[in-house]
């Protein structure tokens, strides 16, 4: 008793982290990586290795050389650890490079044509070759959002119902349904466009935002249903059992217990689907085509969209039109990014996750 008491009185403990890597070690490691990165850059100038991929290969080789250089100082297990660490880190960097390259290129080339009017004006009174401070892609943004909204409204209920059929009902057709969903994921987007061209566009006698939205829905459905299925699979069976044990029928349990549990995951499914189709060009060229002005009516003829806007601007081929196309790409990327951010935020609010965190 007395020893316990005295020890607690004596404590003037400073919190510290004996396991932490010291600052100097970290700086040294960072400096080394930086030096190697610069060396790899020179390698791309003086050797046949070129461009970012060449740089990444050089970077990997220099790192490997360094590891082999210090290998004699290390034990067998440490050596293997060091080599694997270099290989894995370098491959991660390698995978990161194209992504970064695309992003940087689009931002560098795309910022040129940005001015506030770009987001609110259309191209009715300006040509693609006009100065960059007139005209814009507002009509394309609106068209894209309308068509994606149509696709989402059609796809989300269908996708969720498919997910429920595959995980909750597990009916006799489960195998067939899953097979069809998976093969739909492989449908070339231009075929989806042709399908809607042959059905909706032909029967309506005109191109329309509705046809475009439906073509996007065909492409979006597999993504949404597969994500919904994966998300619904995460719901533990004991939650379903609890529902049944309370005298609930299966559809009530699915509707009132299982679906609310994965509300966030289902939003993520929808947004992944949106991100999948918002950049599709081929199906829209066959269904909604392109136009120069704002079109709010989805059955009122051709509609502009960001991908077809970008396509048209590049086809025009002048310096100013190219700049407009790059800015369109930047806006498209920003939209996808924005949707992903929303998906992540919703995902973090997931009730299931909150529960899992609690149990840790």
């Amino acid at each position: 008793m007395s020893t316990v008491a005295s020890s607690s009185q004596l404590t003037t403990a400073e919190p510290r982290r004996p396991w932490a890597v010291s600052r100097s070690t970290r700086l040294l490691g960072f400096g080394r990586i930086l030096a190697f990165a610069i060396a790899a850059f020179f390698a791309t100038i003086f050797t046949p290795l070129a461009n970012v991929d060449g740089w990444a290969v050089a970077f990997l080789l220099i790192n490997l050389a360094w590891v082999i250089g210090i290998a004699s100082k290390l034990g067998a297990k440490e050596r293997r650890d060091a080599v694997l660490r270099v290989v894995i880190t370098s491959l991660a960097v390698l995978a990161f490079v194209p992504w970064l390259s695309i992003l940087v290129t689009v931002i560098l080339k795309g910022y040129r044509a940005i001015y506030p009017g770009y987001f609110v004006s259309d191209m009715r009174t300006s040509t693609p070759d006009d100065e960059l401070n007139i005209g814009g892609a507002g009509h394309a943004i609106v068209g894209s959002l309308i068509m994606v909204a149509i696709a989402t409204v059609v796809t989300l209920p269908l996708g969720i119902l498919t997910g429920i059929y595959l995980t909750e009902v597990r009916g006799r057709l489960t195998f067939l349904v899953r097979f069809i969903v998976q093969s739909m994921a492989g449908v070339p987007s231009v075929v989806a466009g042709l399908f809607l061209f042959a059905t909706v566009v032909k029967s309506m006698g005109q191109y329309s935002g509705l046809a475009g939205g439906l073509a996007l829905a065909v492409l979006m459905l597999p993504t949404v249903s597969r994500t919904a299925e994966e998300v619904l699979k995460l719901v533990p069976d004991d939650i379903r059992s609890a529902g049944y044990a309370l005298g609930a029928r299966q559809w009530r349990t699915a509707l009132l217990v299982v679906l609310p549990t994965v509300r966030a995951g289902l939003s993520t499914a929808a947004i992944l689907g949106v991100a999948r189709v918002i950049g599709e060009t081929a199906p829209l060229l066959l269904t909604s085509l392109n136009t120069n002005g704002f079109v709010w009516n989805p059955i009122g003829g051709t509609v502009a969209s960001l991908p077809t806007y970008i396509f048209a601007m590049f086809m025009y081929g002048t310096d100013y039109s190219n700049a407009r196309a790059w800015t369109g790409s930047l806006v498209l990327l920003a939209l996808v990014f924005f949707f992903f951010i929303i998906a992540r935020r919703l995902g973090n609010k997931s009730a299931l996750k909150a529960n899992a965190n609690r149990r840790k």
Partner: protein
Amino acid sequence: MTQTQITTSQGTNQQSGETSKFIGLETQGVHAWFGKHHALSNVSLRFPERTVTGLIGPSGCGKSTFIRLLNRMHEFIPSAAMAGSVLLNGSDIYAPEEDPAMIRLKVGMVFQKPNPFPAMTIRENVLAGIRLAHLKRSNHDEIVEQCLTRAGLWKEVKDRLQASGGSLSGGQQQRLCIARSLAVEPQVLLMDEPCSALDPGSTLRIEETIKELAEKITVIIVTHNMQQASRVSDYCAFFLTDGGPGYLVEADATRKMFTNPTDSRTADYVQGKFG
């Protein structure tokens, strides 16, 4: 209530029709299979109204299988099969005209692992059964308070009924699950090792809850804890397996089972000599 409260398969024969309708839950020659695996053999038991019966026995002897037969949860396992009959107040719950969802309303269940609905608040969890089963109730506030009180949780959560069910501790979650089962007013409550994941304090609370529940409903509890069985139950049924299907060894008043059982294996088991 002068007749033998609990009848084993070796004991008195039931002659349905001749005796007056037995009030409570009763099984007659119940068997269970999973595919070709014969899991449970010939169990006949009576669970009188407003009593607590403990089902004891080593792991794998079919206690959980048996308890899941009592509210038709057994049939959710695709390969499952059964034989015999389960009578609730004299009528067979496996009769073709019976609706399994209605049976589960009358015979509620609390699971081994606390499983509150994660997307619902504490209040919504309690009312979940009413919403799920489409029951018409107007006095929701009253039901929430009453059920949480009976489950021994009201004092701890009355100020945060809008908090998520998942934000409670394990023991509180289990009591929330009990409250949830009570809200649909079952006649029988099945509990499948309800305390196995809980600390001693929470266990004690739930045991008190069980005793209070038995003033109104029939409780059947599977437990691996002999002390718990002796503390909470009025009757005990001892299951065993010899490698084959599980079977009922003996069932009697708890006091007799723990002091002077008929079968020597029961004596060995309750004294902790095996299992």
